[in-house]
Symmetry: C2
């Protein structure tokens, strides 16, 4: 099928740029994560909580990806860390060249942790390497415990899964234990964290894990 061939070329080109990004981040001792999730799973809230918890211990920079608007960069910018907003203007995922170009605006900062918040989409961003050290999937309890089985690619390629909005478990038809089991069926090596940006549950564990990765 023609589309697949074309897509492969796009991916090959993307992979080459991603490799260059990875090499650059490694040389500068930057640990980078690529946050993947559906719209509204709480990516930006989690970035805010993470920056708030870690910014006095770790030098952080953030790249925000959105189809439209710079709402997210403005939110994260409140925490006084360097932020760049990528507006993809309709495109459903970030690509490595966008990360390369936006990083030039961050390059003069001393950075230990680079957080890349991808476009809200659990499907397409999984196919595009950005040069990150780790992909992190965020899934909220409101999305249902079957989602790892229905959208396996993101889970297969991730190092960590954050099950967010744990405070809503009493009100939704979702068993976090089944969600974990389904995720581990797709990828047994996932580090799983359960969090709530409303109550603060699990934010410490997630941030400690992140810090341990930065120092390693």
């Amino acid at each position: 099928m023609a589309v697949i061939t074309i897509e492969r070329k796009v991916l090959e080109k993307n992979d080459a740029i991603a490799a260059a990004n990875r090499e650059k981040f490694s040389r500068r001792k930057i640990f980078s994560i690529n946050l993947l999730s559906s719209p509204g799973s709480g990516k930006t809230s989690l970035v805010e909580k993470t920056v708030e918890a870690l910014k006095d211990r770790v030098k952080i920079a953030v790249i925000e990806g959105d189809v439209q608007t710079d709402l997210d960069a403005r939110r994260v910018g409140e925490f006084d860390v360097p932020v760049v907003q990528i507006v993809t203007n309709g495109s459903c995922h970030l690509e490595a060249n966008l990360v390369r170009d936006s990083f030039t605006q961050l390059a003069e900062n001393d950075i230990q942790l680079l957080i890349i918040e991808n476009v809200g989409n659990l499907v397409c961003p999984a196919a595009y390497d950005l040069g990150e050290d780790a992909k992190v999937v965020i899934l909220s309890t409101t999305e249902g415990d079957d989602k790892p089985l229905k959208y396996p690619a993101a889970f297969r390629r991730a190092s960590a899964l954050i099950i967010n909005k744990m405070d809503l478990v009493p009100y939704v038809n979702c068993d976090p234990e089944i969600m974990k089991k389904n995720a581990l069926r797709i990828n047994p090596d996932l580090n799983i964290f359960t969090t709530s940006c409303t109550t603060g549950e699990g934010i410490d564990q997630w941030c400690n894990f992140l810090q341990s990765q930065i120092n390693s």
Copy 2:
């Protein structure tokens, strides 16, 4: 940029097949809807409620689109209506040819309403005409009231918006009135419904609207 050119060709081909689908549905007096949303906004639950409410009044068939699994078709199949499952195997949206091909398995049924549940993705499916009479966006209150501004394409092309999971409003940081306003800023012609598949709120209004479209 090369990708855009390629994409345009894919879309042109898709549009031709979508036009043929539309002509076929029209000739057979089938009213068809294309349901768009993020994963976990409640698309399948809403299809279940809709089928349950309308199936004694309206002859319904369902096409389920998923990246992986036939979980959704099995759920909807419980209601004794003809269902076909499309598994896209990684692709992030349905295309008109998939609808054309899956419709051959439904063609012998007498159908007044064809419900097409797209892949869970608020971005890519918006670009692909399937030949439907109306696109319907489902947004759950847990996703946040800023989402119409951040993912405008789906809202711009839709005839109706269903704000689902109204029962969770007390527990989440979302004002449905702001969500409505943001959606109407993108598309002032949207018919907006507020529903809960848990309490049944708004399902009647939505189904009555749908029936009025079928009869018209």
